[in-house]
Symmetry: C4
Subunit: 357 residues, 4 copies
């Protein structure tokens, strides 16, 4: 009567389930966990639940395209990969497998594979996520090495003057598994991410760091962790070419607002003069379209990419990105949006209170 | 002391329970499922939960009547049957049994029984639901055949340039059971509804299709899938005689708004010059009255009709419709509404937040 | 270390638990149930959950008093007993035991004990709840008999042109247990409350019935079932001395608003020229105070009184009333309200959304 | 691969779990319970769930400090210990152990240890919580004894003209365990806290009691239990040096608003001329910062301190306070607040409805 379902994994939740089965519990907690009571972690996802998109009919559009220009480069879709430490926790190939999936990738300072190896596998833009250490020389060397490897932008993590209190990791006494280490840093003490951060992160960084980064590199600088209009304006004034609306995946200040909730005020403050990206809670193509509608140029996917990587290496990453991109295409088709830049706030309406889960 | 309850099934939920027991799991999923995470599917029902109707007392009305005129024909109640493919999935008699129950029926392009057989069993108006295929000849033949069989209107499905991503069906690898096939179409490839749609549906339809339908038929055309005031106005301007406020039962764009939530803006935009019907989430007579109060001329019931059909054939359909119609009569009596056209927005008040489930 | 708890039952929930254990399931369902999906039944209770009362300190009041004047009579507390059929379902002594507990009591047309027996046991005002039957002679005889027995007011049930669809009773095929019958009516057919109502209730009653009641009796008439300002005004214009804001305990129109939610509009429309009572969902002294604050002169308790009666006869009723009255006194003391008439809307504030359960 | 978690207890919930295991069920209920249906108890905690703090980045602040001045004394952090009876219920050392943890402490009239012993152990300010008994001589002696022992302020409990109806204690028939008694009162009848209160508390206290307290002592007086702007103004006019926004931990009027919800109106009414403290529901450093942002000078922690005391004596108390203070420091760092006095309402934003749990 009916056939057998063979297309599994079909959803991002399927990939998460596969990943959870493959990763040890402490690694899973390190990847999934947030700070404090994980309210902001949950809020990021929940913020999208009230989104309602207004479908349009008989638009005559045919198939929309998802290409979009970010800092002068065309992305296949407005969907990149958020910076996350140690993809080697999820798969032995680590960031090399991730990059091979073909999406724009923000490589972490704590990448488990070398910038050069990653660059060799990549076909889409690579950006470097920068933690600005107390020891600026270390930071400078990282930037120079990434730029030399062909990376195209710097993404300064601005929201971590110290690491947030991540209870799961404290409870697990989490240490990196042997064999997982930063491939682009020298030194020791990395096995305890929280301990390393307490020792090396600079709690007193200010906006002058943007100028400093621009002085040591020709790459554009984006500031990641911006959650207020005020800071968005300060970022632009400091010389940033873009901001990433982010609460560090709910891993820094528990009770920070969901990123989607603050996107409008930031987009309005910048007025288009600066690239606006967002990460946190994006799980569906409709989420992506909602972000575009409220002023984001693109979004970055985080944990789901590691789920795909754990579940199936490079193919798993491509599978995750493919689902979200296909959903985005469908949502654009059904709302009459021919291209990402055509999305605007009129796409959105409010769910009735009862309609949200 | 007390008698034995023998009047089961008593509620639409009873019918759904019976249907679930009789249909195979994959067929059940095909009938019940929605697109994506099924948020819109749930929202359709949930949107009615906040409705509160204002009872009136001592009105002197006696029993109200539910007759209402739609496109020049009098319906016994403002309740018809929404288009759904393959009633033969629920009962061997399929649409013939459904039609025999006596309510206005929108017959699907993918009906499991011939238009002629359905017409022979029907005592209330029949309308044809039209998917406009890439191959317009197929569509024209369907329309002509339905019109010849006495169908009275065309309902153009406008919200399906491609079929939504229905995860349950993908997971089940759903194929139509043998013996279930479109009775009014020739050709092959129908066993996989999603696959057929991808091959044959026209993703680039525009509003000119309304004029084309009117050119090949003398029947009035309603546009189904309208969820915005803008599209309602475009429908009227394109020559439609009515719209069906619908999100395809939550099967197309997940995150589309609940139909009840957008009804007011559509009714206001049309201002009475066009028939307004609604489907999606109607489960109670009070839901029907709320729709009438906000400007609908009638509603269409979907899944509950298939439940009744699976549970008891034509009698089951009549049972389902009877419950809802009786509830509507009771709600009209208790709110002092003598006839459907007398319902207005003053009937409604808002639940306190705590009062909603 | 600690003593043993012996004061059980301590709360209305304790009494309900006791009652549920003593009554058969079908009787329990008849008492507890509501119409349709029981949304309005639930809403009545839920509407109070958002109430927040503003405590005041160091008021110097000492103990407040709860006496209040209703239609010229002083009640010990602004708490009476709502009309309910057949207290003999809960306890063999029925309404006689209820009356003996000492609170004002609205006796049902379908009381299980004679008006004379009830009056002999009562120390507080008795009112008669009137269903106006198609056979007006029956109604007239009831009124005359009650007035002769010393009843002091008539409470016209205006919201039941027919009985609501009570699914629990239909499912149970509920019939009155043998020995339970209306003590003040002659005739047959009472064993099926729904069937009797369908045969005898007058679906076309209008406001002239108030004048008719006044013409056959010298007692003041209150109209019960008022849920809109418009009907409150019509009631006063028709000659009513008061209204009871009621949705029939959620047993008539499912989706009627919670009584507490519509109290303000009704109190505002009447402006004090008419007694305003409320039933539905009152379970705590703080609920009573909230009703007083929004313009009610008194409330009527329904199901909890039957729970007390089932749990412990007259003492159980007194126990239930005692808990609520004591809670009311405490709430008045802690909010600085010396007497019921001093309660006003400034007592209330809104719960934050998160604070409601 | 990963280490073993050894830092347990890590959170206040961990401490509560430990405490629950060590205390008998009736003592646990006495500590944890609230009045009535415990709505206000729950509301206190829930009110903070909607708080969202606006993070700021690259502020250049470095580590913030938490020192704050309250009534002329510098506290290490804006976090003191709320008055609670009988710390000896939680640990044999009682208030002496609590005081030794080093935070400002409001000692209850019903302390289980003498004021002198407590003072000998304390390194931070001690305040006396005053119940003003009918027998003023008793109260005067308490005040004089506390002042002589070096206590620095009086905190008048103004919200208990009688004790709220605490159902758990009534159900348990709660009596103090042997060995637990007020160390600073003579007399009998203390074993039943509710019974004692009914006998000795003065239900008719008015604002003149503030002047009386000032006449018998040179210490500043704070009024605890203020929940309205009106009473805050009256407190100041009566000569109070501060108010504690409190609903007695949800133990008095069930349906009183959450303290956090009424803080803004009270802070606005006082305009800075009076110390404003708050207790009720504070469980996280972010809660503390939110209170500071809305005008509190400091908060008082209640039940969590007893949890810490039960779990680990003085070290447990210090552990609890340390977690909250560390979280506060982190929240200040991540929101760019260099010192408590710099917190203002701009720190706060609203959670989207879906984002709250």
């Amino acid at each position: 009567m009916t056939g057998h379902g063979q297309a599994w994994p079909l959803t991002l939740a399927d990939y998460a389930e596969l990943a959870r089965a493959r990763l040890g519990p402490a690694v899973w907690d390190f990847v999934e966990g947030g700070a404090g009571a994980e309210r902001t972690l949950a809020a990021n996802v929940a913020a999208f639940e009230h989104v309602r998109l207004r479908p349009r009919v008989l638009t005559g559009l045919g198939l929309p395209h998802t290409k979009t220009e970010i800092l002068g480069r065309v992305w296949d879709a407005p969907i990149g990969i958020a910076p996350m430490a140690y993809h080697t926790l999820a798969h032995p190939e680590g960031e090399v497998a991730t990059a091979r999936a073909g999406a724009p990738l923000v490589v972490s300072t704590f990448a488990g594979r070398t910038f050069e190896d990653i660059a060799a596998a990549a076909s889409a833009p690579l950006w470097l996520q920068v933690y600005c250490f107390r020891d600026r020389t270390t930071t400078r060397r990282l930037v120079e090495r990434a730029e030399a490897a062909g990376f195209e932008a710097l993404v300064l993590t601005a929201d971590a003057p110290r690491l947030g209190r991540r209870v799961r990791d404290l409870r697990n006494g989490f240490l990196l598994p042997s064999g997982v280490a930063p491939a682009n840093l020298t030194g020791t003490g990395f096995s305890s991410p929280g301990g390393h951060a307490a020792a090396e992160f600079d709690a007193a960084l200010d906006w002058s760091v943007v100028a400093w980064l621009r002085s040591i590199s020709s790459l554009p600088v984006l500031v990641k962790g911006v959650l207020t209009a005020s800071d968005a304006v300060l970022a632009r004034e400091a010389g940033a070419g873009g901001v990433v609306v982010s609460n560090h995946g709910g891993r820094q200040l528990d009770r920070a607002p969901a990123t989607f909730d603050v996107l409008p005020e930031i987009a309005a403050a910048l007025g288009g003069g600066c690239a606006v990206l967002l990460d946190g809670g994006v799980r569906r193509g409709a989420d992506v379209l909602a972000c575009l509608a409220l002023g984001a140029d693109a979004v970055l996917l985080g944990r789901p990419v590691l789920h795909g990587l754990a579940a199936g290496g490079s193919d798993g990453v491509a599978g995750v990105l493919g689902i979200v991109t296909d959903e985005l295409t469908e949502a654009m088709l059904l709302t009459g949006v021919p291209a990402p830049r055509d999305a605007g706030p009129a796409l959105l309406t409010t769910a009735s209170p009862a309609a949200a889960p």
